[in-house]
């Protein structure tokens, strides 16, 4: 039964990884931008939430009311002022600019918040748990994270396939130039996509901060987890990304059960093994 509990932990952890990944996947789909700073933006929103919760003395989940719009505005501005200038045939400029942004953000956070471990305190939510049959207990927080991940991904799917904005985003993704001819303002739409991406990132950041300690240096690893979830799931499919997150989460918790030093390593190895056997992932959508 111990094993079942570990598996359940892994599955629920996968929800958090899917939250990390959804925003990254969206902007790659829309504008083929691989945002190396994605992990550091997750950390940035965790620190923004930390500031908001300590300043207003509110619950971290309530802080989302402020953090989500703030990050979305930042995303829009960042896209229009910086990333839009780098998009084109050449993959180098967006890659290197986002890499520069990653190092900038990481050190800015280090400068402001120091290297100390921080935590978002969520009160009783941290300890609540639900008793399942066979003596397994399920933490309320991981369960909530997973439900939120499902809701966020479902919401993104609805947005992409049921709204005018979604249609425009898909059109730009298919062919940016033709979309522009049809009267779509690509520069604005890319900004909106990045705003949505960072709105999702801020949800991910808040859960990251409630779940465990964080400090400015852990951003790149979150980027890597997000990337692995996307590739395992297969590029372009958001439900696939959730499945990828779950596979990664289970691999990590199983590895960690054998030896705490193997936790992250096991996730990487499962990822590389899947990549070698099935490079297109499990649910490929694009090409």
């Amino acid at each position: 039964m111990d094993l079942a509990a570990t598996l359940l932990d892994g599955v629920l952890l996968g929800g958090l990884y899917a939250l990390f990944a959804a925003g990254l996947s969206l902007i790659f789909g829309v504008m083929r931008l691989v945002n190396i700073a994605h992990g550091d933006l997750i950390l940035l929103s965790a620190f923004v939430a930390l500031t908001v919760t300590t300043y207003f003395r509110i619950h971290p989940l309530f802080s989302l009311l402020l953090v989500v719009p703030l990050m979305a505005i930042l995303g829009y501005a960042l896209q229009r002022a910086v990333f839009n200038r780098t998009l084109g045939e050449d993959i180098l400029p967006p890659l290197l600019v986002s890499f520069g942004l990653s190092v900038f953000l990481q050190n800015a956070l280090l400068q402001i918040f120091r290297a100390d471990s921080q935590r978002l305190h969520a009160g009783p939510l941290e300890t609540w748990h639900i008793d399942l049959p066979f003596g397994i207990t399920m933490g309320a927080l991981p369960f909530l994270m997973f439900i939120v991940a499902v809701l966020v991904i479902g919401g993104l799917q609805l947005l992409l396939y049921r709204t005018a904005l979604g249609r425009a985003l898909r059109a730009v993704s298919d062919d940016g130039e033709i979309a522009q001819l049809m009267g779509i303002n690509n520069a604005h739409l890319y900004g909106v996509a990045m705003a949505i991406s960072l709105a999702v990132v801020s949800v991910a950041g808040v859960f990251l901060g409630i779940r465990a300690n964080f400090d400015p240096s852990i951003g790149p690893t979150r980027l890597i987890f997000a990337f692995e979830a996307i590739i395992i799931g297969g590029l372009g499919d958001l439900w696939g990304t959730l499945a990828g997150g779950v596979i990664l989460g289970v691999a990590q918790t199983l590895g960690g059960r054998i030896n705490p030093g193997y936790q992250i390593l096991a996730g990487h190895l499962v990822f590389l093994a899947i990549l070698t056997v099935r490079p297109q992932g499990f649910f490929p959508r694009t090409r």
Binding site: L95, L96, L272
Partner: protein
Amino acid sequence: MIERIQVERSSRASRFLAVVGLFLLGLLIAAPLFGNRSILYLLVEIFVYIALASLWNLLAGYTGLVSIGQQAFVGLGGYSLFALTIFTGMPPLVAVLVAGIISALFAIPTGFVVFRFKGAYFAIGSWVVAEVYRLTFAQVSALGGGSGTSLPVEIVRHIANSRAERDSVIYWTGLAIVVGVLMVIYLILRSRWGLALTAIRDSEAAAESVGVDNYRTKFLIYFLAAGATGSIGALISLQKLRISPDAAFSVNDWTAFVIFIVVIGGIGRMEGPFIGTILFFILREFFADLGSWYLMFLGLFAIVTMLIMPKGIAGWLAERFDLQIFPLGRRIILPKGKQIAFSQFDTSETSERRSTTKVNDD
């Protein structure tokens, strides 16, 4: 009547700078005779960054392989040196060379995995693999596990008996490595391989259609770069006499700095890594005490360079003053003193513009 057209690869400036370069090289070879310990140490660091940046530039600027995982080979080289000298008693200087070979061999399975990624995904994929190596070496208790280990005293003695001699030997090894790396890169770029690489970078489909085997060419360059990076890693650990997974596989030290150097110096130009490294060390001398401010500034500097001057300082010099230190381009000399100058490695857009604007009528 068809007039005879000459093609010239070097210019007066590049020939002059070649003489200056040889003089400088002589000076550098003799440096241990008059330089003190800290200067030699600094020079080795500079050699390391010039070599790493040139190799990264060969990958990203010429081959289109944007890697954020070259620290994998720095770390593998360093750990190979420690393993070879501690477990087999191999002389350290021989081990520097063998460490490079071992790293290159590791690049074969590594390349097999990361070459499944295309374009931007290759960057993160190579990073994941470097993390795998870091986390794996943290589990190897014979080499100190997560906290690392120091090179035993008897092996340190094996390099040379006195400290001054050791400094000189490590210095010359570093100089030999950087000169060797630059010569190999130069020869590759001057050869048919160089043309193939540029073709791949500019358009994979077009390169394939004129008979370039993209996969094999890229793999070979990746393999060579990994080997050279491994030897550099071995040299770094020999200089530091200590190794730990976090330092040896550090993405900041061995890849982020290197990327900033190349981007600011000028990507896709052999001069870029030189200019970038010199700038990097000048900035470091003045601002390194500021810690994270310095890194924030570097990140911002790289972003701004990429946005307003995507070819870096070297690209700007070449465009503005037609200055190229390494004679890698070609210029056509027409009779009657007419001259059309263009570079081999410019994109078609700029060379077209150049050929119309730079026709000098003497």
